[in-house]
């Protein structure tokens, strides 16, 4: 089996699955109707991307597991989502800050994946990057609008950035899987995206009148599955309950 490609697909697909789940938790509870629509739409795109990434992971693995089996029958330690996307929604500001920090990374990554040496990866990236361009537009505008809004919205956005920034560095982690994937031209080394990411974040935070924390120290353990957050287990308890309670059912 092509372990490196399998792991790479899980890293992409578990991020979108976990974030899509988090965003979908907003359904019916957003601050205005337009946001209900936009959040549902974002979650829908992310779940659609999950079907592609986990579908490809299953194909690469070749053991008959499809996207649903991978999504609903793995335990937390086999997930490869970064800790950033596992973080709870918090208030709307925290949700949109998390979304922006992820969208900025995902858009840069997908842009590079459009030149992947693997045609299947390339095809997913071409489709997903159109959706993510829209996600980034929206999360960026919201971060700017709320950062540069009232005193209250500013302080909430600053608190969200302070809370979430220590999870950003994990997106740029590097291990043997990253090295092999980069070597084969499937994806860039995550670290190679950091410069462009930092520049984008710096621009937007300046416009939003928010201060990026000085420390680049980062939590890790999600993308290699060595130490997920406690939140992930609770999320899977809900997400996978039906499939595990009725394993013989077809839905």
């Amino acid at each position: 089996m092509d372990t490196a490609l399998f792991e790479f697909c899980l890293r992409m697909g578990d991020n979108t699955l976990v974030l899509g789940h988090r965003v979908s938790e907003w359904c019916g509870h957003a601050p205005v109707l337009e946001e209900d629509i936009a959040l549902a739409n974002t979650a829908l795109d992310l779940i659609g991307q999950t079907q592609f990434w986990l579908g490809l992971a299953g194909e690469v693995e070749g053991k008959g597991r499809d996207a649903d089996t991978l999504a609903f029958r793995r335990d937390a330690w086999d997930f490869r989502s970064v800790l950033l996307v596992e973080q709870p929604n918090g208030d709307f500001g925290q949700t949109m800050m998390r979304q922006f920090l992820f969208d900025a990374w995902q858009s840069l990554m997908l842009d590079r994946l459009k030149d992947s040496s693997d045609v299947r990866v390339k095809a997913i990236a071409e489709k997903a990057s159109k959706e993510v361009a829209y996600h980034l537009d929206r999360s960026r505008d919201t971060v700017v609008g709320l950062g540069d809004g009232t005193a209250e919205s500013h302080s909430r956005m600053q608190a969200a950035l302070d809370k979430l920034y220590p999870y950003v560095g994990e997106l740029f982690g590097a291990d043997e899987i990253d090295a092999e994937i980069a070597e084969r031209g499937i994806a860039p080394l995550p670290a190679d995206l950091r410069g462009a990411y930092d520049a984008l974040i710096a621009d937007i935070m300046a416009e939003a009148t928010l201060t990026i924390p000085d420390s680049r120290w980062t939590h890790t353990g999600g993308r290699d599955g060595t130490r997920h957050s406690e939140h992930l287990g609770h999320m899977l308890t809900e997400m996978q309950w039906l499939q595990r309670a009725y394993p013989d059912a077809r839905w």
């Binding site: 979908s24 019916g28 337009e34 919201t142 009725y246």
Partner: protein, 330 residues
């Protein structure tokens, strides 16, 4: 359509002799199936009744996100999750078109939202029932959206232009929702014994609440008579309920589900099914706020509105700052 017991003027339909010249001209246009547009003259009662009706429908779409949202995070497959997200997104969109249609009658979306949250405006009784197993999501699509469509299809021809156009768009999406609901029920009804049990349980709990969606018999109601004369109501509640039962019974038979009504039977003479009336005392209790989920539904909407205040204020403040900066730059 999710409007029940919408009050009109309460005075009954005026005869032509009692009408002013403006009212006569207006009624002639309605009778000739002309569309009334926002800037046209209209009787005050027409405007108020329409606001109540359209707003009740809009509120229902918004509150209706909650019972379905209850299962998004527990959907059984990625595809079902995606379909449900798309459906809930459509419903929020329907809320938006309908609020826009109501706004053309001179009331703002924020004012309507306040009326929902303070309890002075209602949403459909159906959304005060809980969704307890996955088959409920099928039942909501099949029965609840099915009942809604019965009402919405004729309303595409309603006299008020913006409302009619909103209905045309909404109907296209609702019939897709109903099909996907039935598709869930097919899988469940043909599935494992546990899935069949879920499907029957959903049927048992949703049948009568779905019949209640049409509202009590209004054949003698002065409100309905006026709304029908104005073509903002096209059929009586009983006609629509009968049509719904006639359509749904064969579908339930195909699924192998039992409708929880021992008196339900085909009537050769009338060419319709005879069926039992729902318990109308339960319906009135739900309208009064005593349904199984009234408290949670309104609390959820109030919390969303209150918790979102800083977001709305923040974005508004930013928009004003930007506009001021632009003016200063010029």
């Amino acid at each position: 359509m999710y409007a029940q017991m919408v009050k009109s003027t309460g005075k009954g339909v005026k005869s032509r002799e009692e009408m002013t010249e403006e009212e006569r001209h207006f009624q002639d246009r309605v009778d000739a199936d002309e569309k009334i547009e926002p800037k046209d003259w209209m009787p005050e009662g027409y405007r108020k009744t329409l606001i109540r009706q359209i707003a009740q429908h809009a509120h229902s779409e918004v509150v209706g996100q909650l019972p379905e949202g209850n299962w998004i995070t527990r959907a059984p497959t990625l595809e079902r999750k995606a379909i449900l997200l798309a459906k809930v997104q459509d419903e929020a969109g329907h809320g938006l078109y309908l609020y826009c249609a109501a706004e053309t009658l001179g009331i703002s979306r924020d004012e309507l939202t306040e009326k929902l949250l303070d309890g002075s405006m209602k949403y459909s009784s159906i959304f005060n029932y809980p969704t307890l197993n996955w088959a409920d999501i099928g039942a909501v699509g099949w029965l609840v959206d099915g009942a809604a469509i019965m009402n919405q299809v004729p309303l595409q021809r309603t006299s008020y232009g913006p409302y009619s156009r909103a209905m045309i768009r909404i109907c296209k999406e609702e019939s897709f929702h109903q099909r996907q609901g039935y598709d869930i029920m097919m899988k469940m009804a043909k599935g494992t014994p546990e899935q069949k049990r879920m499907a029957q349980d959903a049927m048992n709990r949703f049948w009568y609440p779905a019949l209640m969606m049409f509202g009590p018999s209004d054949k003698d109601s002065v409100h309905s008579a006026q709304s029908m004369a104005w073509k903002i109501k096209i059929n009586t509640n009983d006609e629509l309920r009968q049509k719904f039962v006639d359509q749904t019974v064969p579908q339930a038979e195909y699924l192998g589900l039992t409708i929880p009504d021992p008196d339900l039977k085909w009537n050769e003479e009338t060419g319709h099914y005879d069926f039992s009336e729902p318990d109308w005392s339960e319906f009135y209790e739900v309208l009064k706020g005593n349904g199984p989920c009234n408290t949670e539904r309104l609390e959820a909407r109030r919390k969303a509105w209150d918790d979102g205040a800083w977001v709305r204020d923040g974005l508004m403040a930013h928009a004003e700052k930007r506009a001021a900066r632009r003016t200063a730059a010029e």
